[in-house]
Symmetry: C3
Subunit: 450 residues, 3 copies
């Protein structure tokens, strides 16, 4: 099946619901940057796609970093002096500071408060906090609950283990006819947070599941990894193969109701940047294009200066622009099937452009060829329906001089890539175009030196 | 005579009236892409300029096209059952579908209607329709008349001939001191339509008539050709000489009351593009600059990818933006002497810039030369009239480092080219400038690689 | 002492008052392009900085110009028929047309009026007029006074000397660790005019006085010269050393209450242009950036095509935009200590950027280095104060690939240069950066070829 046929079969509502269902399934799992929660998540993803689960031992040096000890947690609670569990990890895994060291003891309120985190401005929400690289323990709770604590002795228990083990991540390569790769990456290291991490996981999974049925030009590499340390580990362990990555996208926060945001790669004009800008410009809805900045998600690592990969980031609302970020309010209600489905379809459109964006040569470049006698042109004029198709053909013929890709032509003409691509297909069938021996990538890199 | 002196002698009103008179003379002739109407038109033009009339035999292969059979028409009519001529080609040559095959027979209304064309939204106008490359016959009429037809038998007669002959076009070269050429092209294939075709014919003719009296730097090649097939034929038959064309302009719809529109060449920053933009920006009136697109007039062929000539298109209202286009309302009232004269003067200004745009070198490039002792500078200050002239001199001196043309300097300074050119002339006389050995073209092509 | 420490010690009010005091001291001196007034001015400057006073003999050929005769004046007056001094040079040195030849005679009003200058639109102000290169004599007065003159015989006396002598100027070089130079130039040729000439003199003097206490990267060359002929003379006499000048600024009209104006060098994107734009953009106040034009102050000569030095011009209100220009109203009240101090601080900021703008290489360019274990990163997040500092570090790490200067990084990130520079300093101390062997200049010139 080719991608055009496939796009006709997928509806936003169905794929959006499927994604939301999958997120609901993964929501209760307590993930962190290492540990059994990550493995459980990867195993559920494996029910959809044949993901490889990789394990990197604690202590492995990955560039400037060391793989940390593995963290696992069985239980945690705070009991008041009457023995009531006032905080119970079993009810919400955000209650425990991620990577908390084990603790079990009685403690006064004044001492306990040094280990408690809340959000005074949002008194009903539980914050999500971590302490990966400096040993500590702590509890997160709503500010209302924190305020209600009285001067008494509490029993705190965190039944966690922090010891040498592994960092786990998932990797899945869908081979295409070329060894050139498209990287699709998302983070999988957050516990019960939906927009932040689960929306990206669901989109990656469903996109991989969809693409594996197709005959593809590019190879597609999916990485489902713990944030920061995961991408650093992958880049370090696969340094020799990194140059195969010709395009890439990081997926994060793709499920909230906000407008779509695309954050450009460090290069700022790479093909993936231009593709997402094109798709969003023609999407008929508001959108936001952000310039690259060296904070955000794993694009920070992919775009570090020694790699400088053409990897952007697709989001709806960026992490620093929604209040629910890193709180218990980033829950199953906060993400919407409509938004999830819309994000999916935009990714699929981007893949469609990547797959079909080519540089052609007009085989009849001296004046216009006579479209009429090939049945490509209206005879008596006036047919409004055909007009756009003809304009697209004229644009493709005029610009196909072995230096302009179809995306270039779409941008110069102001027409939608799909219309330009359809025109190119017609002209190719009529023998008026041929594939240029130049590769898009080379033209791209040439453009990059401007 | 040089172009500066000439420009002082020409007034917009006089040249505009002359053009309108010439259009009135050509208006009744029934032109098409071939045939005696074209020849008659070219002969009238020959009363003004020594045009060569070229004839290309039917069946000649010109790139992807064949020269079609020649079409001539003597008479055409529709008679009602009482023998009244309700449509008479003799009264308006738009009544016949151009390239109609001969027909003479009785026909029922239901059958006849398949061969009738009208414009329901403009019930009083007769449309102009053609069928060059697929055999057909037909009549065009006002919608009001079409609606009034009754269920009866009609007699239709089209006394036309469509058989091997020739495609005719006019060509005139005014030699300059250089063999580098400026192409001026217009189409001559429409019957009684004024803005569309006759305005361009009149402007080309009067411009050629004017320029032939001058000592010129460039050679000027005027082409008066049937649209599309004419430019394709010329490019094919003159392929080896095409590279002589360094600048060019297509003239079409230059007589209506709308603001001036300049449509850029495919290159988008060629010298002719920059010249017309400069002239329009300083014209003191509204104007429109359009990016290149591969539909319109013969710039489509000149700008096809294998030629990519620096040829723009000068119009007032573009064809797809006035309702009178290709209707009987594009008549002698629709075009105005003022507009025709204004379009003429803008072309003459453009020629003037082309002729005098040079790259100079400041012969005293270390600091400013002392303009005062050469009588080029006011002594006691305060003379407002001289100030602009001095600024222009300072700009020319500062920028004339063998890389900037006078047009570059005009654009950087924001001053009018004519003021900059006058300053350069003064400085040249004072020995402070010399012509650079670099050619403008080379500098241009360098600029083009940015 | 380094420039960062120094900047903390200087307050706008104190330096502004110091500058205003110095201007008050220089105000009464009658300067012109040559003569004892210039020497007296240079000697006063020498009480602050060890200025060299250079003397160029009259008649010396400097490029296209000759050094003029030296002009000195002892006294000048107009007496009415009753012997009353109605104009007295001793009361205001603007009263005499600068470079007036000697005259002493009785004269009728009708004849006298040919030698009188006033400003009808500003009837109380005395204009400032000169006639350097064409011999003449004259008096300047308020229009009110001119109008009150009656038909009688006047005695005019100008006790001046115009004869071979010298053109005097001041030069001071503060050596830095590099022989690459920063040029700071101002004109010193106007009599009692404050914004025009004295404000620039005061700023140059105080800046030189300040910088000479520092350890500097660049060498700083201060030129205090008569306008036009002074810079032409210096460039001619120092032609072989001109290429040492890597950056430069002309200072003029830096004391009025208007917003700051920076006029770009002829190159338009030189480092000094980008630095002043950066400083003004982050200044929190309105400002104006003007493109280069070949009129103004001595940047005309520094930016003449054979030199094309990267020299801009810092002003508050440009000369052609304040009515007080070249009149007695450009006096001690017209300039403000606040404005003078503000202009000084902006220059010092620019020097600070020049001194510290470097190209670095990230020594850990594969992914981000772990800032946390180096104490460079917050542990538990949330500390708003540190956030900007961390963003700056991430930007510097991401962009320091031996092609981007700190100024480039400041511009791409939108952050203030000082924040970026501080981050670079921290990272350098932590061993995460190293100086690139590439010079900023080379990167700059590369950028210039875009």
């Amino acid at each position: 099946m080719n991608i055009h046929d496939l796009r006709k079969q997928i509806t936003r509502d169905r794929i959006g619901s499927e994604m939301h269902d999958f997120i609901s399934e993964l929501y209760p799992i307590c993930r962190s940057i290492t540990g059994n929660g990550v493995r459980a998540t990867l195993r559920r993803i494996r029910t959809h796609i044949p993901l490889e689960i990789r394990e990197v031992p604690s202590g492995t040096k990955v560039f400037d970093w060391l793989i940390p000890n593995e963290w696992n947690i069985r239980d945690a609670y705070i009991k008041d002096s009457r023995g009531n569990k006032i905080i119970d990890f079993g009810r919400c895994n955000l209650h425990v500071l991620s990577y908390s060291t084990p603790v079990k003891r009685k403690i006064k309120l004044s001492e306990l408060r040094k280990h408690l985190f809340s959000i005074p401005e949002k008194p009903d929400w539980i914050p999500y906090r971590t302490s990966y690289y400096s040993e500590n323990w702590g509890f997160c709770m709503s500010h209302r609950q924190l305020e209600s604590l009285t001067q008494e002795e509490y029993e705190v228990c965190i039944d966690s283990v922090l010891e040498p083990g592994y960092l786990s991540y998932g990797e899945y390569l869908i081979p295409g006819s070329s060894t050139d790769e498209v990287l699709i990456s998302c983070h999988i290291c957050h516990p019960s947070l939906c927009n932040d991490n689960l929306s990206g996981i669901a989109l990656s999974t469903m996109l991989a599941k969809t693409l594996k049925a197709l005959t593809l030009r590019y190879s597609y590499r999916f990485l489902l990894i713990p944030g920061t340390i995961g991408s650093i580990a992958w880049l370090c362990l696969n340094e020799k193969q990194v140059s195969k990555i010709k395009h890439g996208i990081v997926l994060a926060n793709v499920g909230d109701e906000g407008i779509t945001t695309y954050k450009k790669s460090r290069r700022g004009n790479s093909e993936v940047d231009r593709i997402f800008e094109h798709i969003l410009r023609h999407s008929g809805t508001d959108y936001r294009i952000e310039d690259f900045s060296p904070y955000g998600y794993d694009e920070r690592q992919y775009c570090s200066p020694a790699f400088d990969l053409p990897v952007g980031c697709l989001m709806r609302t960026p992490h620093d622009q929604f209040g629910e970020y890193h709180t218990s309010a980033d829950n199953l209600d906060f993400i919407k099937p409509w938004s999830l489905g819309d994000s999916f379809l935009k990714c699929l459109s981007a893949v469609s452009v990547l797959e079909t964006n080519q540089v052609y040569s007009n085989r009849s470049p001296k004046c216009e060829p006579q479209l009429g006698r090939r049945g490509l042109y209206r005879d008596l004029g006036g047919n409004v329906d055909k007009k756009a198709a003809e304009f697209a053909m004229l644009w493709v013929l005029n610009q196909s001089d072995a230096t302009h890709s179809l995306l270039d032509i779409a941008e110069r003409s102001g027409m939608h890539f799909d219309d330009i691509e359809r025109a190119a297909h017609l002209l190719l069938s009529a023998g008026l175009l041929e594939e240029s021996t130049d590769q898009v990538q080379e033209v791209q890199s040439h453009a990059g030196t401007k």
